[in-house]
């Protein structure tokens, strides 16, 4: 039995953790002085040794990524923090930046030291106005107290951070599209190689890392590699912020060690499903990860275990839906998302998502035809592996997996022109379950220090 654990989220309950005073009182900024004593190369080795894997979706080992960064190129080295968080169902980075922004800034300072980079950018999605404000206040305090800027804490290390708001495009979470966007272009993915580690921002060596990945770094430095490895599983070390949404009693962010099962998370942290509902299907890591069913609730939170179950851990955005919810409507909703967010660079994704969405509209308006299932399947096959970036592949995940597990619902819809009985039609016209359960009672920030925006 795994137990929930508070590491990254350990200060979430502290009302003033977003101030320098609160952060330091709760043990913050104890890792940075230690890290500044360690040689950059040793820090990279430490992060590698700890087995930290990227929390942005791909699970790529962070230390390994850092070790790819060439040295002595004569160009500056950059750290770009990916705070674009737009994957449907994902809200872990928002909460982290809102409640504990210094944790990220401390991680950035350490990462910059490790990478010998003097300049970091935080690319935050434009809709995250309040988390951005919290970060700006935190940066102001950190600069004033010498935790950022030139010669931080008298170590001779310079770290400058710029917060950069995006403008509403999911694709800008993809690392190369993010870099193009940060350079003031349309956010469209680049061909790789060259990888960002070699030619990233301004064609200079660049590390792109997720907010949560960076926030793990101070803990590794402070508590040590062994402690970090003791959390979680052999190949997925550490803890994970799990964002649960959908039809559970208490949706929210919960931190669990890797290796916990989805059932434990739903039952312990979320207190189960809304009354009278059973798990029917869930996405383990956001809409881009293939759906799993009630049978898979005992799968462990671990990059490899979830992959073995036929899905992906992604961002660990657990979206749980019940026996009253139509999987076809879910798939249509996500398909519309990908259709809207496709950047248009490559044909399979740009055209394919459009046609998929047309087929869903036709089926759900009662005009489905028997060959529609095959059309969905074939269009997905023509997108998957043939599109320029992973967004195209992701668009096929909910469709392929729902066809695999819930073909009967599709067949019923096509045959009768309506969803099977017992499913609530037209997701959204369900008002009885708009329950006001909050993960915690302090949704209202105790002090909004920005006062007002004006």
């Amino acid at each position: 039995m795994a137990e929930p654990i508070a590491v990254l989220s350990s200060r979430y309950d502290v009302p003033d953790a977003h101030t320098l005073e609160g952060y330091k009182r709760e043990g913050g900024y104890s890792a940075l002085p230690q890290a500044l004593e360690i040689a950059p190369g040793d820090l990279v080795a430490m992060v590698k040794e700890a087995g930290l894997r990227g929390r942005g979706g791909a699970g790529f080992p962070t230390g390994v990524k850092w070790s790819f960064m060439p040295k002595g190129t004569g160009k500056p080295t950059y750290l770009v923090v990916n705070a674009d968080e737009s994957e449907p169902g994902t809200f872990k980075d928002r909460e982290l930046m809102e409640r504990d922004p210094f944790q990220l800034l401390e991680g950035i300072a350490i990462a910059c030291h490790a990478l010998e980079s003097e300049r970091a950018f935080i690319y935050i999605r434009g809709e995250y106005l309040f988390p951005g404000m919290r970060l700006e206040e935190a940066m102001t305090e950190a600069y004033a107290a010498g935790y950022l800027g030139d010669d931080i804490l008298g170590s001779g290390v310079n770290v400058h951070v710029t917060l950069h708001y995006g403008a509403g495009a999911y694709i800008c979470g993809e690392e190369t599209a993010l870099l193009d966007s940060l350079e003031g272009r349309r956010g469209q993915p680049r061909l790789r190689p060259p990888f960002p580690a070699v030619a990233g921002l301004y064609a200079s060596p660049t590390a792109v890392n997720n907010v949560e990945s960076i926030a793990n770094v101070p803990w590794i430095v402070e508590r040590g590699v062994d402690w970090y490895k003791s959390l979680g599983t052999e190949k997925s070390a550490g803890t994970k912020l799990v964002c649960v949404s959908g039809e559970v009693k208490r949706p929210g962010n919960y931190e669990w060690p890797m290796g916990a099962t989805f059932r434990e998370i739903i039952e312990t942290s979320c207190e189960g499903m809304l009354d009278g509902r059973e798990v029917r299907f869930f996405a383990p890591g956001g809409s881009s990860t293939p759906l799993l069913t009630a049978e898979h609730l005992d799968v462990e939170l671990d990059f490899d275990a979830v992959a073995a179950a036929g899905s992906l851990l992604g961002t660990a955005a657990l979206m749980v839906y019940s026996d009253k919810t139509s999987v076809v409507e879910a798939a249509r909703n996500w398909t519309k998302f990908y259709e809207h967010e496709s950047c248009g660079k490559c044909t399979p994704c740009r055209e394919g998502t459009f046609w998929l969405s047309q087929v869903y509209d036709r089926m759900l308006s009662g005009g489905g035809r028997p060959q529609d299932l095959q059309i969905l399947d074939e269009v997905c096959d023509n997108i998957f592996g043939r599109s320029f970036c992973a967004l195209g592949d992701a668009a096929t995940s909910p469709i392929k997996s729902s066809l695999k597990y819930f073909r009967d619902e599709y067949e019923h819809l096509v045959e009768h022109g309506r969803l099977p009985d017992g499913l609530e039609p037209h997701a959204g016209i369900i008002t009885d379950n708009a329950a006001r359960h909050r993960p915690t009672d302090f949704a209202q920030p105790a002090t909004v220090r920005a006062g007002s925006l004006r």
Binding site: F60, G126, A167, T325, E329, S452
Partner: protein, 317 residues
């Protein structure tokens, strides 16, 4: 169009980045602050500030959802209709607000107080259904709650505080914040000053402005795919051009002798097959970059890590 004061701040934004063009997204937010939408004038001004063409700026502005082509009302109301919100009533909230206001996606009420939109997941799914006003979040909004919120906006009343962040100040003020300049009324305050601290600190020489086809672009080595006879013919043509007192380079674009000298293969594309790219730069495989030639012999990575690298290409977040 920027006022003189805003113009100064716009210039400061440009200075903040190692390369000018990076300031484009913030500048476009600033245009929305000044004009309530992406105006023709605003595009022209960004183009001038960044030494770009208006078409280049326009192409960027139309890519991003938050840049609006029509003038926005005082407040922007966004309703999340992604699935975790939809199952808890988000789609219903949007439908009812639409009917109540008589507005469709991105339309503004006649009195100029509200612009309505539905949005993809706004990253607050635990508070479903989510409604934001000027990007500040009101969580768990039933239809009645959302209607009351909209009524308050229509009546010009002060809004109730959102569940996260300060009371929505209006979309123009929010846009100023999104430009990264700190609070409007405190333009030279601590936040604005801290944000400006990074100015000039590029961690080394300012990287050269990038080549025409984008960052990371390297001039591909031209691989001649012409027969010797063709090469001879081309050289003869070039010689003729020179004899006429012209530079062959200049005539090239106009269909001159070197017009066919485009690379027939894209070296970068070929480089996806490890080590097979014609003209592949040696530095890459030496750096151990996945997919770029053989990994170094003393590869410290375990098998899983190497596999995980492959995954990075096919998975996503």
């Amino acid at each position: 169009m920027f006022s003189e004061q805003l113009r100064g701040r716009a210039e400061a934004l440009v200075d903040r980045y190692p390369q000018k063009r990076s300031a484009l997204l913030p500048l476009l937010h600033l245009v929305q602050h000044a004009d309530g939408h992406i105006s023709e004038d605003g595009i022209a001004e960004c183009a001038e500030l960044l030494e770009l063409t208006k078409a280049e700026v326009g192409a960027v502005a139309t890519f991003y959802t938050m840049y609006k082509r029509g003038e926005m009302g005082r407040h922007l109301v966004s309703v999340c209709t992604s699935f975790s919100c939809a199952v808890r009533g988000g789609a219903e909230v949007y439908d009812r607000l639409k009917a109540k206001l008589g507005l469709a996606q991105n339309e503004t009420s006649a009195d100029g107080s509200i612009t309505l939109e539905h949005a993809e997941c706004l990253g607050n799914c635990e508070g479903a259904p989510l409604v934001t006003v000027d990007y500040l979040n009101y969580e768990c909004q039933s239809v009645a709650d959302a209607e009351a919120l909209v009524d308050a906006i229509l009546a010009g009343e002060t809004l109730p505080p959102p569940t996260r962040g300060p009371v929505p100040p209006g979309i123009r003020e929010a846009s100023y914040r999104l430009a990264g300049l700190g609070p409007v009324e405190d333009a030279d305050g601590p936040i604005a000053r801290a944000a400006a601290k990074a100015e000039g600190h590029h961690g080394g020489p300012t990287p050269a402005a990038t080549a025409p086809s984008g960052p990371g672009w390297v001039a591909p080595e031209v691989i001649p795919t012409f027969s010797e006879a063709e090469v001879a013919e081309r050289e003869a043509a070039k010689a003729a051009v020179r004899a006429a007192g012209l530079d062959p380079e200049d005539v090239a674009g106009a269909g001159g002798p070197s017009a066919r000298e485009f690379p027939s293969r894209d070296p970068d594309f070929e480089a996806q097959e490890p080590g097979t790219a014609p003209g592949e730069k040696p530095g890459r495989s030496a750096a151990g970059i996945p997919g770029a030639g053989a990994a170094p012999e003393d590869d410290p990575r375990t098998e899983e890590q190497v596999e995980a690298e492959g995954d990075e290409e096919s998975t996503d977040g």
